[in-house]
Subunit: 240 residues, 2 copies
């Protein structure tokens, strides 16, 4: 298997993705929220790019069946039901509900890679299950860290590096790594047992701490607390 | 000092560079060639983007005063005097000469960052001198690895990481690192005493080995064999 990771989240070439498995990563916090909400029984998650579109989309569904969640630049969005802390997405609130999610980086990322053959949402919370699914599918892999407003993200690349490391150790044949994949794997190996240290160094992590979300960092640094594999298909993310 | 490194060599925002020191890195092999040729007494180096432009430019200067050097995709260019092996650029050939250099990645990179306040060519051969100059100038730094045909390069980022590591250790106040700078520093710390191992893992390194240039990898992995600081200004690179 060949693994590439795109270190900066500009729109990838759609032709490059059509035969590849794609994993979108936004550790702080979209893909952690998505993973957690689905593990708590949310029906499905619709990732949206714009706040206004999210409000419009919500009107399509019966009242009470849908919740609006997300953030813009780490701030709660006026009129939304939930923010972007995974800890808010508990069973009592989300079970059986459709969630419309809008965030600064992560939800956009799914639309940028929508030409991928299969598209999954990865985070530390479910990284082992994602690696296992990638190994089963045995296709070339394209990892897409959603980054920080168009820039490189330490924590997303680190999570991508963990995925690379797990797959390289799980494959029977040698895994073919691009230069970027080598770099991500080295980054993971440096912070393997110190994820929180890396979050504290990262631009996004520091911003969340300043805004009072330090507990989210601790939450999102948990490894393999669920084995669900969220899949993006037809504009919607569901458990497969 | 704030240090940023652009991990993928797309054209940076010129406004971002106007107050920053910029270091262009193409370890395999442009900036190693530039550093070595100047240390061997070359008068100046004119980095060109296109082969045809290089031939045109050479006609301006008196016959015998100028040499054409470089490569396209690691191959010698027909009609050029020299290739892109640093070892070719010895004093007997280059002393007192003006060199017109055209390469796949490195020479283009200088033109992409031409709005920088001061622009230097860095390689492992002169990395200590580059770090020292950056510390003296004490301005925010923008490191530009020239990459592999628009993609991330392991060896260039590793060299950028060494520059970051040297500056961070040399500054009295804490150095401010972006997420990308943290990542490059981690990459350097992994391969600190194993540069050749990293070159052997890299896409470009493997290509050079296949094409018979393994000795160039060994040459370009030498640290601080000269203390010259090549500076790009007005389209020309000279020793300052």
């Amino acid at each position: 298997m060949q693994i590439n990771i795109q270190l900066i989240p500009f729109p990838p070439n759609p032709d490059l993705l059509s035969e590849r498995v794609v994993v979108v990563i936004d550790v702080l916090r979209s893909t952690s929220v998505i993973t957690h909400a689905l593990s708590q029984g949310a029906l499905e998650i619709i990732p949206m790019t714009m706040v206004e579109e999210a409000f419009q989309r919500a009107k399509i569904f019966p009242r009470g069946s849908v919740l609006l969640g997300g953030e813009m630049r780490n701030k709660r969005i006026s009129g939304f039901d939930l923010g972007n802390s995974p800890r808010e997405y508990v069973s009592e609130k989300v079970k059986g509900k459709r969630l419309i999610l809008t965030t600064t980086n992560g939800t956009k990322a799914f639309h940028l890679v929508s030409s991928g053959r299969e598209i999954f949402a990865g985070s530390f919370l479910n990284i082992g299950a994602i690696a296992q699914r990638c190994l089963e599918l045995n296709r070339d892999l394209f990892i897409f860290p959603s980054g920080n407003e168009g820039d490189f993200s330490l924590e997303d690349t680190l999570c991508g590096g963990m995925l690379i490391d797990l797959i390289a150790k799980g494959e029977k044949k040698p895994t073919s790594l691009t230069d970027a994949s080598c770099c991500a794997q080295v980054l993971y190996q440096r912070f393997e047992d110190k994820l929180l240290e890396a979050f504290h160094l990262s631009h996004h992590g520091k911003g969340l701490i300043r805004q009072g979300f330090e507990d989210d960092l601790v939450y999102c640094a948990q490894i393999d607390i669920t084995d669900i594999v969220p899949k993006f298909e037809g504009g919607v993310i569901r458990v497969i």
